[in-house]
């Protein structure tokens, strides 16, 4: 019986020690603009260089003539599927340096996903519906997240150490370096606030305009 109690005690102690050494910390991030309004769809990631992955589980959907989600972040090497769940056809394209591609007029699921193997911003759109616009941000890390409507996000599974945390947003003014902060992870949970100045950049107008007739 004593041997059993001793063994159990050893296992618990070992588990606690391992937990201490491999403890995963988190960073709570708030992203606001210069008027202190929350910024949704900001990509928050840790700057590091990891080898590319082969993940093909990422999906950018097309519903009610909009891309969903508006912003997607993936690790370099990931493949993205572009299903079209509208009952009409879309023509998806990108001219971005990080990835140029075109999915000619299609409905349903394209035959194969598209691999994003170069880091950076990929701005994509639909050639039929000008307001349809979305962004893919390709990073060299697996530590990334996207802010919600309240401008909040959480970076998890961070080991103790020194990190550079970067924020990117489609409307952000200036370079990434302006939106980067150094952080030393030592406690369980830390908080970072990023203020991202935004430029005027809008999707094409979609809502109906007046059809007032002109003249007589």
């Amino acid at each position: 019986m004593k041997i059993f109690q001793f063994t159990t005690w050893c296992f618990i102690s070992l588990f606690l020690m391992l937990s201490w050494f491999t403890h995963a910390n988190t960073i709570k991030v708030s992203v606001i603009d210069d008027k202190k309004n929350p910024v949704e769809f900001a990509v928050i990631y840790v700057k590091e260089t990891l080898p590319k992955v082969s993940d093909n589980s990422v999906v950018i959907d097309q519903v009610d003539k909009e891309f969903i989600p508006y912003v997607t972040v993936v690790q370099r090497g990931s493949a993205i599927n572009f299903p079209n769940n509208d009952e009409i056809r879309h023509q998806v394209y990108s001219f971005s340096k990080s990835k140029q591609f075109e999915l000619p007029l299609y409905s349903g699921n394209p035959s194969s996903p598209i691999v994003f193997d170069k880091k950076g911003v990929v701005a994509m759109a639909c050639n039929i519906h000008d307001w349809m616009k979305a962004y893919i941000y390709v990073v060299d890390t697996n530590k990334f997240t996207i802010s919600d409507k309240l401008g909040q996000a959480v970076l998890t599974n961070l080991a103790k150490g020194q990190y550079e945390v970067v924020v990117w947003h489609p409307k952000a003014k200036g370079s990434e370096q302006l939106n980067a902060q150094q952080i030393n992870i030592s406690d369980d949970e830390q908080e970072l606030v990023f203020t991202v100045a935004q430029k005027s950049q809008f999707k094409a107008w979609r809502s109906p305009k007046s059809t007032m007739r002109r003249g007589y």
């Binding site: 809008f202 809502s207 002109r214």
Partner: protein, 295 residues
């Protein structure tokens, strides 16, 4: 003329449909507009003592469908219905129904590629005072382009011809077919997105061709003295005469749109018409507030 117009439209429709190997009917079109308009100088009189203003409630609906020919060209066929109700001059109340054929081509892949659009439209306007009922044939060619992500420019050339019943002859040497008109508009449009929910639009149109004006019996003599009136008849709506003449007009329009959802919006439109024949000036201003829905 009308037969030729119809034949051209049918030919364009059939040839574009036949040329589309990958063609497919795509999204449905279902637009609706409910509007209130305040109109100053509704009768477009040239005399300040002879102008009438009114308020109008209108509903219009458009149903149809797009046919996607390929990645760059789409065709649309729509049926249009409209009803207008006036506050005071209820003899002007009217119902309209018509059809539109549209063909839009985008010159390549990308947001900044220009487009060219052709429209051919037929509409019958049935006015409460039947003498004013007309048939309208309209065609236009529009070219446009996104200049920046906020700014879009477009230009349009419109041809309109109307036919209607000739009224009673009141000046023996002049025709009474006031509603037989043809005119051209050359319009320039600017759209500027102020924020994701607000759109500012402006347009300037140069209009050339026939137009009509109503005035009291007392002012008719002055008009006939200085203008080359091509047709004149009795006007039972405003209680005087309505006459047709040829002239040039400038039409200025500005609108502010607010997006309620992706499918609906509120619009405020102000339009000023500044016409001139040989001597007299014809001014008119309207203010429109509308709720618009698009499926």
């Amino acid at each position: 003329m009308n037969k030729l117009f119809s034949l051209i439209v049918i030919f364009m429709f059939l040839s574009t449909a036949a040329a589309a190997e990958q063609g497919e009917w795509v999204e449905w079109i279902a637009d609706a507009q409910l509007s209130y308009t305040s109109i100053e100088n509704l009768n477009l009189s040239a005399f300040s003592d002879d102008t009438h203003s009114d308020e109008q409630l209108a509903f219009s609906g458009i149903v149809g469908r797009f046919y996607q020919l390929n990645g760059f060209t789409r065709m649309s066929l729509t049926l249009e219905l409209e009803a207008e109700k006036y506050q005071d001059f209820d003899a002007m109340d009217n119902r309209q129904f018509g059809a539109n054929f549209g063909l839009r081509h985008k010159f390549g892949l990308g947001f900044y590629q220009p487009y060219l659009q052709f429209n051919a439209n037929y509409r019958h306007k049935e006015v409460e005072w039947d003498a004013n009922s007309i048939d309208i044939l309209f065609s236009n060619l529009e070219v446009g382009r996104h200049i920046t992500n906020q700014l879009t420019l477009a230009a349009s050339l419109d041809f309109t011809s109307t036919t209607g019943k000739a009224g009673p002859v009141i000046v023996p040497e002049l025709s009474s077919d006031v509603y037989e008109q043809s005119y051209i508009h050359l319009t320039f449009f600017v759209d500027y997105i102020l924020s994701q929910d607000w759109l500012l639009s402006a347009s300037y149109a140069r209009r050339q061709g026939d137009f009509q004006s109503s005035c009291s019996k007392e002012n008719v003599a002055k008009v006939l003295e200085v203008e080359k009136v091509s047709a004149i008849t009795k006007d039972d709506i405003f209680g005087g005469c309505v006459y047709k003449l040829d002239g040039g007009s400038n039409i200025y329009s500005a609108s502010l749109s607010y997006s309620l959802t992706n499918h609906s919006g509120i619009n405020f439109v102000m339009e000023h018409y500044q016409g001139k024949a040989d001597v007299l000036d014809y001014h008119n201003t309207s203010y429109l507030l509308s709720f618009n829905y698009r499926y």
